[in-house]
């Protein structure tokens, strides 16, 4: 039985970790390197750094942050936000990231996923998808940090990104993210039926049992959590213990 990965999602703006709700708001909650190190020392499996404002400013500036993180955090690091060219990917990997998460650029130019996975390998390429509920069992793909509707259907898009060569999918529910009301289990249930690459669920975790409910109710491979850690609502150990108590395997 596979082990579920527990990832810390750290949204960054300049030198701060920020935490929004529905991908909106820039409330500062800490220092990115410090939080990354804390979570590493407390047993998190991976870190995702997202440049929260790359879409606003047509830039991406996490290289320094990643370099510093790599010096003392020895678990996989993913970087996302504003990855627009293969040069951006090369720089991210050079700084020490293992994977890059791509959303907006892929929606505008789907072939970018294919080109990138051919050069860097599909295991480096995480397709980041922002999903907004627009009808019963129907979700729309958004870009630009949850700001622009794309007209694409999420289920169709996840099938495409797999075809195009993405190695993993990070699927964020805009409706749930930052609310601490639990995951949109229905979303992940529907998506997991349609793909065979790993899925990271992101958005909504408020308490430890949310993770258990998600894993038991859908076929995701990993969870990305933020508010619950940044606001110190619960510990990584307790979250993992709750999963173990529910017969879900995790890395100890």
């Amino acid at each position: 039985m596979k082990k579920i990965r527990v990832l810390a999602r750290i949204d960054v703006k300049n030198e701060f970790v920020i935490k929004g709700i529905h991908l909106e708001g820039l409330r500062k909650v800490g220092n990115p390197n410090k939080l990354a190190l804390d979570y590493y020392n407390n047993g998190i499996d991976e870190i995702i750094f997202m440049d929260a404002v790359a879409a606003y400013y047509d830039r991406n500036t996490l290289s320094d942050l990643i370099e510093r993180a790599c010096a003392d955090v020895f678990i996989p690091i993913t970087v996302g936000g504003g990855i627009r060219t293969t040069e951006d990917i090369k720089n991210a990997l050079k700084s020490g990231a293992d994977k890059v998460a791509i959303n907006t650029k892929a929606v505008q130019d789907p072939d970018f996923i294919t080109r990138s996975s051919k050069i860097f390998g599909s295991q480096c390429i995480v397709s980041s998808i922002e999903a907004k509920l627009v009808g019963q069992n129907k979700w729309e793909v958004y870009t630009d940090n949850g700001r622009e509707p794309s007209g694409k259907d999420v289920i169709e898009w996840v099938k495409s990104v797999q075809e195009l060569g993405a190695g993993e999918i990070m699927l964020t529910s805009i409706d749930h993210e930052g609310t601490k009301r639990g995951f949109d289990i229905n979303l992940y249930k529907h998506v997991a039926k349609n793909v065979s690459i790993p899925i990271i669920a992101s958005g909504g975790m408020g308490e430890a049992c949310d993770a258990a409910n998600l894993i038991l109710g859908s076929n995701v491979d990993a969870i990305a959590i933020a508010s619950i850690l940044h606001y110190q609502i619960d510990s990584i150990q307790n979250i993992k213990n709750t999963l173990i108590d529910n017969n879900i395997k995790v890395r100890i």
């Binding site: 596979k2 082990k3 990965r5 590493y40 499996d45 370099e67 790599c70 010096a71 003392d72 020895f74 678990i75 996989p76 690091i77 990997l93 050079k94 700084s95 020490g96 990231a97 293992d98 860097f120 390998g121 599909s122 295991q123 480096c124 190695g167 993993e168 997991a192 039926k193 793909v195 065979s196 690459i197 790993p198 076929n219 491979d221 995790v250 890395r251 100890i252």
Partner: protein, 211 residues
Amino acid sequence: MRIAIVDYDLGNVRSILSAFDNKGAQVQLTNDRNKILESDGVVLPGVGAFKHGMESLKKYGLVEIIKEYIDTGKPFMGICLGMQMLFNESEEYGHTKGLSLISGKVVKLPRKNICNEKLPHVSWNEIKGNVDNWPNTILEGIRNSSDMYFVHSFVAQPTDEGHILSTTEYSDWNFCSTVKKDNIYGCQFHPEKSGKVGLEIINNFMRICEK
């Protein structure tokens, strides 16, 4: 303690550099023949496609340099793609020849149930083996069934089972996750990404280099 990380334009090298640096080694990224031959230990990293990896090695003249280094008897470690290239050939994107330093081939992980078992195999997973065989290897002192970080779709199948130091389970199949032949080691997982346990493996490699 001088460790050389082979530079052939592939792979996330910063983490490996940091990891060795963290453990106190004097580590450098290089494809220079002299620097490699003078090192106490050499690491071949690698992420990506086998064919691309081999082409890059050839481009930098590293195939001969690596073989020359191996012949000195000093420790060598391949990580992920770096481990796969130690073998004879891979079936990824057709058939590509490897370094043939360890007998065996590289195949795609088989999947029984498509939606439950996913590829690439991106997961923390346990390495298991006969711990009696682990002292004086890079797995010395490591707890059996420790979780390591894996991210790959292909695995190596050593012809000689005696070269298998640890196996890992995927979809009811046990594949070789650590390999050892004389002074050559290979890890399918990423020790530089496997937290503190991974750093222990790196430390072990350095201790072997010291001897």
